[in-house]
Point group: D3
Chain length 271, copies 6
């Protein structure tokens, strides 16, 4: 169960309206790697958690914080939309600068949301649950989380570069710092799990049942062998089980497929 | 540019038809973490790659292999659908066993695809490009790739447990082995990049501009302190810059939001 | 079965082309609360109607009118797109005013639709059937309809404010008037149903089977008690069964969840 | 900002596993009118709220409660999935009863989520933000909310009829009761707003600018006149401004559309 | 503008309920090539039509018929759902035959639609406007229409084979006949346009501006030359301008791509 | 299985950056009729092919070429994005020309993709597998393919008109030429199949089972009879079986639908 307090986790106070920037900021609210994604991903990982208690508690701690991040950005967007020039004064004499703002705005911010934030990304695409994963395997999921915090911090940093508004930058500097923490946090949790389980997900699958002759081979399927010089083609594998092998000319090992004709009632192409 | 050879990378020969399993197998073909996702993700990462040549070559090597994985699974599904009991012989006397098969099949396998594979997941949801990321930052993207190979191998292992068909298991054992390699590969590439760039994405953002007092704090937003005992709350942070700090009662640091009334032409709720 | 007449229900004649406005107008054609939504929602409610005949007839009357509204707006958009400056005359000397128009247009209006309307909203997101509901319970559905006509009229009014073209405003004034009628219509139908069925949907569920001690309690889950002063926390409930009660400090009434470890073949995190 | 407590708002304890029912229960978790929809709809309405303080507080009170409802149902689903028969013991001798369970389950519950809940509906379609609205006009939005609580209670009642498990029914009886309250709550809030603003959304649009001769006419666009006998065609309109009028044979009032040929560079059909 | 008559275009009377078949039948109602697709595709093509009047009239004739087809199938589905066994009588003694029906049904037919049709396909995926095209070039669009009627008739024939209910088959026999006509109709319209415009869409693009040396070459990008024996590699091209040429070993004609490093503020991988 | 070579199939070298055009060019990369659609459509048609070998080989030849087309356009887009003005130098003095570029760009090109291509269309909508079809009936599918190449060439021609950059036009002239070939190719394959199978898909359905009295009738469902003068209403039908008939006043042939009341446990509107 949850409780709400009225104060934001950190200030969300723009120095001035900027409806074009409001459109861009939607990316980290409702985009693929926005705050709604981590919020919902962590909530479901926590609620589904079947592992020991410290994991569930930790995941729900951060999940609960992420709701507050969505709240901050939504609040910021609503204020950036104040004064958007969406009311047409008169036909004719149009100011190119105003027209450029109108062209750069998300029209739904005015028409649909009445100058409020929306749960969508920077091109207006709605947030979808397919952005998230809760697999029941924490090592897999913590890698998803580390990726999400990496893509997320990258996007916030790019947005930081795209404005000079000190109020917006102040809020972003907070989000960037929290993403620094959250990358550290998931790396720490991953390290802990890898030490007990091993590095390959899932660690519980009996490796005798995999086709082990191709478990450590880098296959060069494209012309040119620059790929031979990377860490992934040399030295011990990261799971500590073998050494990387470089296959210069990988060969097909399977059959030439030949499908049977379909039955008559399927009305495929007749033989 | 690409060339195709007719043989599959590895055998895809079921021992007998199984249209219900064909539906399940769609998950690793066209699902969120299926082969189509890694194929398209790696292709776009390779084509967009602005880093040194060995990365582009390596990414396109694996991308090209993934197209062959999609091909193998599609071929397997088409054969598993042979003999699906979709032709209604007569109204009335229905065999519960046959009805259970019909209930467990994807009806589109017959109606839409004429007993062929489809680019969808195990509930028939179509593959979407929002499953993929190519951010221009390789460390971020390699974490996405490591996650994809972790979720992917987990799903293939689960599917391995859900059948006893030796032909299907043979193909899955190959895919599981390649996922072992690919997890190792991305871990190796990540290690290489972290050593030169540092562990926090993006490494090029000036850390002075982030709100550093919250960069290393674990915040306990949920009741109970089990989360205090994890690696994420104790010892040096993984980026080597500080020590984790545990905040027992995190406090709001921001304003109580109060939005201005909207302008008249927006026709929001009147004040 | 349906018949078509060539004349529009009302004039759709813009005074001059305006391709940027054409993009915005798509919202009320193919948006969440656009005319396609009410058209399809009412058609399915009518076709599925199991209640007495006057409801089916009424619903199909308005459904049929809505097809004509889609037609009017599509016709308007095609004309607003006449003369869109999408042909690049020469590299170099670009007019900022023209560029602003190009930036503000939907590029698909030219590339995909050849200066025609599309069944999408103002950010180009395609109309989807998940915008609609036909539940088989008319009181529930008429509330959906009243909401749709309320959101719809709000959006048309906002679009009215965003243009000064007298031809466009003339058509919008017709749509606004019809939405006035349709809000009245659904309120009237709701009033009729509530009088015979009661106000709570579904009225046929035996209220003894609901946890009645929380059926009339407003729970204050957020800090601060401004919410105490509203009608929803004072006086008789709207279904006439009780009085509103205000719970200042709502408490958890449920268990602390503890999930069992998953079975081995699921390959979740090992205990 | 938010805080989490570990106890659920109400018990979520099934009497026994039922993976087929788990699939169905997803509808009220991640469906069009599930708890995720009201949770996100109310959160955004609260964050965007520009009206007086009691509304914002009230909306966030209920939004915060809804997060707890999502939590309860997710917890219930995870438990219903315990013991799902997804591990294939041996090829051949299949039990029709077990096969029927497998056919009726959502395969992703095992393959993707490892026996956990997912943020999707009962056919596996992912939750999308287009299910929600926050328009900036509270009367419009409260009608959306009343509709959501009506559709939602209807669906929970139907799910109540589809099980006899006393633990599941106990939880549903709580949710049904809260939906009774929430329907009452939104009706109360609507009543309050209608009394000050009038019944037509938006109330601030100058009615002189709408085409008033069609503002109160019911138009009979389908054969047969059963629709004449409803409240929507007789007596005073619900906004108190006029009387309903019934138009037996509505006529087209607009032009016969004739579009100009497209410009040459569009490569439409040549004239 | 449109009018509705109450009689269906053709009888839709099942001989008995069949909720599993109702799920399958959704494919031709709300699927990619279902009746909603042709209805909306033809309506938009008609409304956007800038060509001579006989085309617009013809397109709207068939569009209007398609609304009636949607109506017939929706009516059929609602009747097939009568008597669906969705009410759980008692826990425990489950009949495998009934369970198979429940497993094969779409759960939303009961939970969401109250035993009515829904605007979705046979796996419950909602109809989306991206299924349709109205390009402004009639030859292109008539090819889309011919494809839609071909895929559509194929699916209806498959559904015909999947039932033995004489009432359902009677309705399908009508739809199959209309699809015969509609394939003929679009072929006739295509023939007419090809005779005046030529066969390549768009016919108005100056062929001097295309890279003509590759305009008639079949390129053998896959191992093996079975493809050499088809009509597409031999004889005159269908546009009558040249002869097909078979390129046994197509060579890359382009550059080896090398992208510039990104600017610093993009925070891509550092060089 | 596939191999990659580093050279592009044809040059993709813009003369100068143009981030606004990059957004538009996305349409033919990840749009409904972009290169990703034909690539995936042909791959699945080839993999699922149950017909004689020359078809499978031919389909996979062209499928493999299409991957190279996606590669060329992705490479072009990445270069067009070089130098995009997304870094905000200072608040205040904004250049309208630069602002127009920013308004016309896709913000995700910078925020999400770091100046790289994305698998989306020109409004940022992600590519989805529902754009493709592989039905198992080659005549049906080749009509889908002819349509795709027709819509595709039309869109490329429109994009050709929207730029004057000689490098971009050079690449487009290659794609236009290949689409000329591919339209010819599918027309040739269709001609071959129609000669052996007949023109109506599927040709294997016994025509006695269709309602033959409406198999060749054009029905005039809209007012006005301009549609009478087309080829579709006069002369022999294209399948050579009959003559077209024109029905001036098509009549309803079906029942007036009357649905039974729903069962009590569905909680629909009470009778
Ligand atoms: Ca290579
Ligand atoms: Ca805690
Ligand atoms: Ca409160
Ligand atoms: Ca009527
Ligand atoms: Ca070949
Ligand atoms: Ca006509």
């Amino acid at each position: 169960m949850f409780y709400h307090v009225k104060e934001l986790q950190y200030d969300a106070k723009p120095s001035q309206p900027d409806p074009v920037y409001a459109k861009k900021l939607q990316e980290i609210l409702g985009g693929q790697y926005g705050e709604m994604s981590v919020m919902m991903q962590y909530l479901f990982q926590g609620w589904n958690c079947r592992a020991e208690g410290k994991y569930r508690d930790m995941i729900l701690d951060i999940a609960t914080e992420e709701i507050a991040h969505v709240e901050m950005i939504a609040t910021m967007i609503a204020q950036l939309l104040d004064g958007a020039p969406v009311h047409d004064q008169e036909q004719g004499a149009k100011d190119p600068a105003v027209e450029a703002v109108l062209g750069g705005m998300n029209p739904q911010h005015a028409i649909v949301n009445g100058l409020g934030a929306q749960p969508n990304d920077s091109v207006g695409y709605p947030w979808t649950a397919r952005y998230t994963i809760a697999s029941g395997n924490l090592l897999a999921d913590f890698r998803a989380n580390l990726n999400a915090e990496s893509q997320g911090r990258l996007q916030v940093c790019r947005l930081y570069e795209m404005t000079t508004d000190p109020g917006v930058r102040d809020m972003l500097s907070f989000l960037i710092a929290r993403d620094t923490m959250h990358q550290n946090q998931w790396m720490a949790a991953i390290e802990e799990l890898e030490q007990t389980q091993g590095a390959i997900v899932p660690s519980t699958f009996n490796q005798e049942f995999e086709k082990q002759e191709v478990s450590y081979s880098f296959m060069n399927f494209s012309e040119g062998e620059e790929s031979k010089t990377g860490r992934w083609a040399n030295g011990p594998t990261l799971d500590g089980q073998a050494n990387f092998e470089y296959i210069q000319n990988p060969k097909a090992m399977g059959q030439k497929p030949q499908l049977q004709p379909g039955p008559k009632f399927i009305h495929g192409t007749p033989p």
